[in-house]
């Protein structure tokens, strides 16, 4: 028989019906049919403790705080009262105030619940904005299929024409020597005189850089009378003097 073993846990189930220590306290007061303005604290505190004995730990704190409060009030009630009754402040007053306040909240909750139920019972237009289309499912294909597809694509394309690129270094010192040699023989010369016929681009570039280098060093002058005219090269008298 399982039922007897489940006995203690039935408290937990029971306590879930309460919304908190104040709710539990109110229901005790109702069950015991006692006057909320004259709570028999000792009796209610004892019952309160009995009910929370099997509370799960995470909920216990709220209830234990109330239990401690009840015990303190119980102790205060036992203290001998002052002869002047008018000055006596009921230690239960604050608790009663809170209970009544909570009772009021419960009443509002009943109202709200009724209103929410009435609203839930009426449907509004259920307009749902069109959602974006779902993303395509991830591709599922084998490596062979992928390779075959790549091969098919490559076969369609033409064989690309490839150029072999050969790096040619420029020979600027060589060109400088050539230009200097020519300048020794002739005072003036033209661009074409220092370039061998059928020159490779690297040779042309070498000569160009050689001329610029020599002009910078002051060994020669470069002149171009008009755009696209032949460049005239002449010995630099000043440079020669230096």
């Amino acid at each position: 028989m399982l039922a007897p073993e489940r006995g203690p846990s039935s408290f937990d189930v029971e306590l879930e019906a309460y919304h908190g220590p104040l709710d539990l306290l109110l229901s005790l007061i109702r069950d015991e049919k006692v006057d909320i303005y004259d709570i028999p604290v000792a009796r209610i505190a004892q019952q309160f403790l009995a009910r929370i004995r099997h509370l799960p730990l995470d909920e216990a704190a709220d209830y234990l705080e109330m239990a401690a409060r009840l015990l303190r009030i119980k102790a205060q009630m036992l203290l001998p009262r002052n002869e002047n009754v008018d000055l006596w402040e009921d230690p239960r007053a604050e608790l009663v105030r809170r209970l009544l306040e909570y009772q009021q909240v419960r009443e509002v909750v009943d109202h709200l619940d009724t209103m929410a139920e009435s609203r839930r019972g009426r449907f509004a237009r259920a307009f749902l904005p069109e959602s974006a289309p779902p993303p395509a499912p991830p591709l599922a294909l084998s490596l062979v299929e992928l390779m075959t597809a790549v091969d098919r694509v490559l076969r369609v394309t033409r064989q690309p024409t490839l150029h072999e690129v050969v790096a040619r270094s420029l020979d600027v010192p060589g060109a400088i020597a050539t230009v200097r040699a020519v300048l020794l023989l002739r005072e003036r010369l033209r661009w074409r005189d220092v370039i061998v016929p059928q020159a490779e681009p690297w040779q042309v570039l070498s000569v160009l850089l050689a001329l610029l280098e020599l002009a910078k060093l002051g060994e020669l002058k470069l002149a171009q009378p008009k755009p696209f005219a032949d460049v005239e090269i002449s010995r630099d008298a000043a440079g020669e003097a230096a």
């Binding site: 919304h19 709220d62 007053a93 105030r97 909570y102 909240v105 419960r106 209103m115 019972g121 509004a124």
Partner: protein, 208 residues
């Protein structure tokens, strides 16, 4: 129906949310807010009197077409629409306190409810029923919560004033919402009535 009433019906049908009166007025450049109100009345009367399955309801600071309660069960049984999830007791208690005391901080709510409300507050904010409306002065500048327009919609309220007034509740401890009655009236009533609740209520006020 007048053309304006028909236009309003179409707009209300097209919208999933309640439409405020001034927004309805923008539908027709020639329509004044007053004429919109007349047309809304006309639409409501037509829906009520000609036997329609929907009705025009004013709620949540606007107007909305809702199905009539008698068809709810059939609609839900056919799974054409689902009712929103019902709020738990803890959520309702917390909402009730916020609705009457807003703006209010977490510790005050916990003081009234007697339990921790952190997770409940988070869930209510996520559901859009409450929102953070500011911060209190004082230590730690705690967050203050208030209800949203969705709260009004959820409970089919036009405004917060439609919540039951404190003096309409059986236990009138102290006015939660000060709409008409100042504290003095309540205290006077308590003296005159000699009802224990009211008498103690005044005492409770004094104690605070």
């Amino acid at each position: 129906m007048t053309p304006l009433a028909k236009l309003l019906e179409a707009a209300l049908f097209a919208s999933a949310r309640p439409i405020p009166t001034d927004e309805l007025a923008t539908l027709d450049a020639e329509a004044s807010p007053a004429s919109v109100r007349v047309a809304l009345d006309e639409l409501r009367d037509t829906l009520d009197n000609d036997g329609h399955g929907v009705e025009l309801v004013e709620l949540g600071e606007g107007w909305q077409l809702l199905t009539r309660p008698e068809y709810t069960e059939a609609i839900e049984r056919a799974q054409l629409a689902l009712r929103p999830q019902r709020l738990s007791g803890a959520s309702l208690e917390t909402l009730a306190i916020i609705a009457y005391r807003q703006p209010i901080g977490r510790s005050e709510i916990e003081e009234i409810r007697g339990v921790a409300v952190g997770s409940v507050l988070k869930a209510l904010v996520e559901r859009g029923l409450i929102d953070i409306v500011g911060r209190a002065e004082g230590l730690g500048r705690p967050l203050l919560y208030g209800t949203t327009p969705l709260f009004l919609e959820h409970f089919a309220l036009r405004h917060l004033g439609e919540l039951p007034r404190a003096d309409e509740l059986a236990v009138a401890l102290r006015p939660l919402v000060r709409i008409e009655e100042p504290d003095v009236d309540l205290a006077d009533a308590g003296d005159a009535d000699a009802e224990p609740e009211l008498g103690l209520g005044a005492a409770g006020d004094a104690a605070r």
